[in-house]
Amino acid sequence: MFIKALPYLFTGAVYTIWITAIAVSLGVIIGVFMGMARISGNIILRGFARVYIDCIRGTPLLVQILIIYIGLPNLLHILTGNQMPINVYVAGIAACGLNSGAYVAEIVRAGIQSIARGQTEAARSLGMTQAQTMRYIILPQAIKRVIPPLGNEFIAMLKDTSLLSVIGVEELTRKGQLFIAVTYAPFPVYLGILLIYLAMTLSISQLVAYAERRLAVSDRSN
């Protein structure tokens, strides 16, 4: 049963990887801006980023998924009187992306702040603008420090996408449940699911370690 389930589960795993990749990419885009906003001199930007990050990190992803997929159409129905269902994949990716954005924002903020103040001062003292300093001096250095925690975020998000099974996104966990419903063989199938998640997360940590080594080399090569 375990062997029979595998091909079926793999199709789910492909969805899991895609959803994670898109959600984390979305998260990185949101996170870079939110992370910079979080330490910006502008009090409104800073406040906005802070509220966003605190709200997302202070609430469960499962509830965030439910409020976007089920709550939001309901709200729109109340406001407009029209039924506007959201595509389940769009809702799932949006929820995960927004969630990831908050965590990435904190990673980006820490990365930027870990670059010594002297770097900013040196760049600014040469007449470079704040934006130039960010782009040419701070971010290139911050990226290297941010890669390991971003890898962790990717792994965490990959595991968390299993929550999307609740709203019916046919990712790995949901595929497994569907298979169990037909075959009544929960143990081998859940074991299969577990092992596939493990294989994926271990592969990602290998990739991150490799990327880290490559970046470390580029630091020193002449």
Partner: protein, 240 residues
Amino acid sequence: MIEVTDLYKSFGKLQVLRGITTRIEEKEVVVVIGPSGSGKSTFLRCLNLLEVPTSGEIVINNVSVTDPQTDINKLRAEVGMVFQHFNLFPHKTVLENITLAPQKVRGLSRAEAEERAYGLLEKIGLAEKAQVYPDSLSGGQQQRVAIARALAMQPRVMLFDEPTSALDPEMVGEVLAVMKDLPKEGITMVVVTHEMGFAREVGDRVLFMDEGQIIEEGSPENIFQNAQHDRTKTFLSKIL
């Protein structure tokens, strides 16, 4: 060239500068000395607005630094700064460290910026290090590159914030040697340092600061041999 009027700076409740007024002429070399905590570094950092003064006015080249309307980036391009801890960009080669700002701020082409950089590297004796990263250089070499990086902007004023304090003693000389050449090129210099030999040899004027004020100023001979204030004498007796 530089006019400072009634400059105050506080960090929270701590008053670091308490009414600094002085005038630095074009091509003058001014050495600022004083005990640690006297506000000399803060004074220097106010000159290019790395610290924003609490009150008072600074005018450089007839441009008010402290006026919020002033384009501070434009001003900073004319005022080079060398830091105690070098602050070279570790992810860029020596050459890139020197060519970045001239390209991005001055709009030089890469070829022009590199030509200028090689000229400066030649001058500081590090032409063969153009392609290496800063972390493979000694402290003295890094500081020389930092000076070249600031000079690549062809500033009219150079600020030095304890440029030799973080160096091993045997490397102090090579950095001072580079600095000693600058007045010949007509660059106005403000140097915060504990190197009294440098002050004597190169300085046109010495400012002695304590507790956020200029206690005494004058030619190096005057200050070192003939200090008027007790605080100056006490300080000098400890370090000379």
